[in-house]
Symmetry: C2
Subunit: 145 residues, 2 copies
């Protein structure tokens, strides 16, 4: 067999699987509050800075607006945030947290540590994580072009 095509030699398959499994680890923690993982990411962005246009949120998450717009609409329907036309630029949609969305931060304080702790193992420790972060950041930077 051609080794090039072995699943074990594929970086992408590892990233894809690791990403899926960590997302699954978030599931029970977020599902209690009716959140999905991408919705949680949007909250992270808005907790850092509230009232951002759709485009800024999309850029931060490196997603397209055709992914983010429906996501935001679902979150608006849940009462987590409000989307409203921009004042200075009428093309923009400004996304602002509502109380329900802001208050979730206090309820989710344990989430980062819980998931962070769940992945720790022999080769992934507080000491080695920075190196892993660096490699992943470089890969992302490389592919963003």
């Amino acid at each position: 067999m051609d080794d090039r095509f072995k699943l074990e030699n594929q970086l992408c398959f590892r990233l894809y699987t690791a990403s899926r499994l960590i997302t699954q680890a978030y599931y029970p923690l977020l599902n209690v509050f009716g959140l999905t993982y991408p919705q949680y990411l949007v909250l992270l962005v808005l907790w850092e800075r509230d009232a951002q246009p759709v485009n800024d949120i999309a850029k931060r998450l490196m997603l397209e607006t055709n992914t983010v717009t429906p996501l935001l609409k679902r979150m608006e329907a849940e009462g987590l945030l409000k989307r409203s036309k921009g004042k200075e630029d009428a093309r923009q949609m400004i996304v602002k947290l509502k109380k329900k969305g802001r208050d979730l931060q206090n309820k989710l304080t344990d989430v980062p540590e819980t998931v962070g702790g769940a992945v720790l193992c022999d080769s992934v420790t507080p000491e080695t994580v920075p190196a892993l972060f660096g490699m992943l950041d470089d890969i992302i930077e490389q592919l963003k072009r």
Copy 2:
């Protein structure tokens, strides 16, 4: 701001983004042949060993059958493979490549190297890749439980 919630401190967001971006790098290479990335993964599994039950393919890719079954049906509709009831166990569906699916291997010989080369950068080199693989494998093993 609470540093725990900063996007930059999230391992999962990096994995999620890196995975998405690499999958996008595959897109133009696979799309020429009408393939998606998960379909390509199925081909990798079947090229290694042909004629496997759905469950073995799903386990190998660490996916559920409710993801794999529709995927295989689409590939069957494309004429890449054939699904047929197992002889010894009537519950099983045996998935076997058709000529079109087998022949794709020769047409995709450059794909692994092309994508593999596209991610190389300062911190990700032939020397450091094994360490990265090891960490990702450990994370996956840890989360599989």
